[in-house]
Symmetry: C2
C-alpha cells in the first residue's frame, strides 16, 4: 500500500499520517510507502518497514506531481489548499492552488492510467451559500459566496466527472468546522470556536465574538481523520451518482459549547471566556449552514461525534499524549 | 450599445441577432455595434446604423477574445459551446471550449476592467443529474452525469464568483430542451422532440423513439431568445446571491405533443409519426428532469410559453416568414 498525501505538513495531514502509521494498514494492505508533498518537507515519525518520501513542492509548478504519480500510489489524499481568507484576498493564487493544481493532479492520474487509485479530497462547508433551507441535505445546491468555496465546488464537479469516466476513483468529503483545533487563535473567522474551549482548558482567557445562541456544525479532528481513512476504504461502486457529500458533523450552539466546558472543567474555566461581540465575525460565521441531513455519509458508514462532551474529552486526551 | 456574441453562427445566435436587430435597442440604448464570433463568419443582415464585425475565431486559441474585448462591449452573449455528445466523446475538447474559453473570457473582462459588462451565458438542463427529487427548484444541486453538464456547472460557479467580486456582471441561464428547432433530425438524443412535430407539419414521416408518457421540459426558440434579451436587461442588484438559474420551461408529455399536432394539423399529420422504441434514447432522455419550480426566473420576469399549442403555432408562423 502506497499512500500519497498533499498538504502533508498541515494540521490534518500530520494527524492523518500519525493515524495511518498507528493502523499500519489501509484497504487491508500493509502500508509500505508514504509520499508526502507540501511547501516544506513534512515531519514524519520513522516507522520500520515504511519507506517515507517527503518532498517540498510548489504544487502550482508544472510537473509538481510527476514523481509522486510515477510511483503509482494506491491512495492519494489531496489536502493541500489555500485557505478561505487567502483565496478571497488573492483570486489568482486561490485558482492556481485550489483548482488548477487539482486539475493537474487529475490529468496526471489520467495520463498514467491510475484508474484504480482512490483520490480523496477535502472540500468544505464553505462551498454552501445563498438562500439555504433550514436543513440541508445531499441534494442542496452549492452556491458559494466566497472564492475558496467556489474553487472547491469546481473541483468536486471535475473529480466526479473524471471518476464517472473511469479515469480515477475519486471521492470528495465536505468537512464541517473542525473543533477543537490545537495551537493558537488565528485569523480564520471560525478561530473562536476552538479558542473558547482550548484557552480556558489551558487556564487562559479567550474571547467569544458571537452571541451564545449562534450554532455551528462541527466535527472533531479525530473523527475527520477517521472519515479520511474510511474515505479510502469505501468501495467505489457504493458511491452512487455523485462523488462528493457532506460529512456528518453535529450541530452545537455556543451556549452548549460553554456549558460543556463548565461540566468538564468547572465554572472557573467557563468564566475565562470574555464576550466581546464582533459584527464582522458574526456576519461570516452566522451565514454558514448548521443543520444537515447527511444521509449519504451516514449510509456509507462515515463516523459522527456522539456529542460535544466527547469532542472536549478527546481533545484533553490528545493533549495529554 | 455594443453587443458581442460568441457562437453567433449557430441556431440560437442567429435567432438572437435577428431579434436584436428587430428591436434596435437593448437596455434602452440604440444598438450601434455587433461583434460576432464563431468558427466561421456569422451571417448578418445589413442594418443601417449598426456596425457589424463578424470574426472567424477558434475560441480556444490564445487571445481569441482580445479584439472583441478591446472594443469594450456593453453586453456579451456567450453561446459558443461544444455540444453534449461531442464533449462526452472528447474530454479535452469539451474542457477547452466549454470551460477554459469561458475562463479566458472572464479573465479578459477582468484584465480590461469590464465590471459593468453584462455577460449572459447559456447553461443547460444537462447540468442536473443524480438522485433528483420529483420537482426541482433553484436550490437543487447540480450533480451532472455527463461532461458537458459538468463543464457548464463549473462555468456557472466561476461566473458567479467573478460577478460577486465585481469583475464582471454575469448571469447564466439554464436552458430547457428547445422545441421546435428548425432544420433536420441530428444525432442529439433530444432530436426527436422537434422532429415529431416538424416533419409531420411538413408532410414528412418522423420516428418517435420514446414512450408516449415520457415527459420533457421544453421552451420555444422564440421564448429562449426573449429570455436572452431579458437576461441583458435584468439589473444586477436583482440577481441575488447566485448568478445562475433554470429558465421557466413547460412540462409536456410526448402524448400531449402529438395531441397538439393533431389539433393543429389534423389526424393525417399525427399519423405520420412511426413509433419505434429506442432503449438508448429512452435511457438518456428519460433521465432528464422535467418538473421545476423556477421561482427565481419567474420573479425576475423571464417569459414562459403559455402551452404547447402556442409553441407549435409560433413555429408555423416562423416557418412562413
Amino acid at each position: 500500500m502506497h499512500i500519497a498525501i498533499t498538504g502533508a505538513a498541515g494540521f490534518l495531514g500530520q494527524r492523518l499520517i500519525r493515524r495511518l502509521l498507528e493502523r499500519g494498514e489501509l484497504q487491508g494492505e500493509p502500508i509500505r510507502r508514504l509520499t508526502l508533498i507540501d511547501q516544506v518537507e513534512a515531519a514524519t515519525p520513522a516507522v520500520a518497514g515504511v519507506e517515507v518520501d517527503a518532498q517540498a513542492r510548489d504544487i502550482t509548478a508544472p510537473g509538481a506531481f510527476d514523481a509522486m504519480l510515477d510511483a503509482r500510489p494506491d491512495v492519494i489524499y489531496h489536502l493541500a489548499a489555500v485557505v478561505s481568507s487567502a483565496a478571497e484576498a488573492d483570486l489568482d493564487l486561490g485558482l492556481a492552488v485550489n483548482f488548477d493544481a487539482t486539475r493537474a493532479l487529475l490529468e496526471g492520474c489520467r495520463a498514467r492510467g491510475l484508474a484504480a487509485t482512490r483520490l480523496v479530497m477535502a472540500s468544505s462547508v464553505a462551498a454552501y451559500g445563498g438562500e439555504l433551507p433550514e436543513t440541508l441535505d445531499d441534494m442542496t445546491a452549492l452556491q458559494p459566496q466566497n472564492s475558496y468555496g467556489t474553487q472547491k465546488a469546481m473541483c468536486e464537479l471535475l473529480i466526479n466527472d473524471y471518476s464517472r469516466r473511469g479515469l480515477v476513483d475519486g471521492l470528495v468529503l465536505r468537512l464541517p468546522t473542525i473543533v477543537i483545533r490545537p495551537g493558537r487563535p488565528n485569523a480564520a473567522a471560525s478561530s473562536f470556536a476552538s479558542s473558547i474551549l482550548r484557552e480556558p482548558l489551558a487556564g487562559e482567557e479567550a474571547i467569544c465574538p458571537v452571541p451564545s445562541d449562534l450554532e455551528l456544525f462541527v466535527m472533531s479532528p479525530g473523527r475527520v481523520v477517521e472519515a479520511l481513512v474510511h474515505g479510502a476504504e469505501v468501495p467505489g461502486e457504493c458511491l452512487g451518482s455523485f462523488r462528493a457529500f457532506m460529512l456528518p458533523g453535529i450541530t452545537v450552539s455556543v451556549a452548549g459549547m460553554i456549558e460543556t466546558l463548565r461540566e468538564v472543567a468547572g465554572q472557573a474555566a467557563a468564566e475565562r471566556i470574555r464576550h466581546e461581540p464582533d459584527p464582522r465575525i458574526q456576519a461570516i460565521v452566522g451565514s454558514w449552514p448548521t443543520r444537515f441531513h447527511t444521509r449519504r455519509a451516514d449510509a456509507l458508514g462515515f463516523p459522527r461525534d456522539t456529542d460535544f462532551r466527547e469532542i472536549v474529552e478527546a481533545f484533553l486526551a490528545d493533549s495529554a499524549r
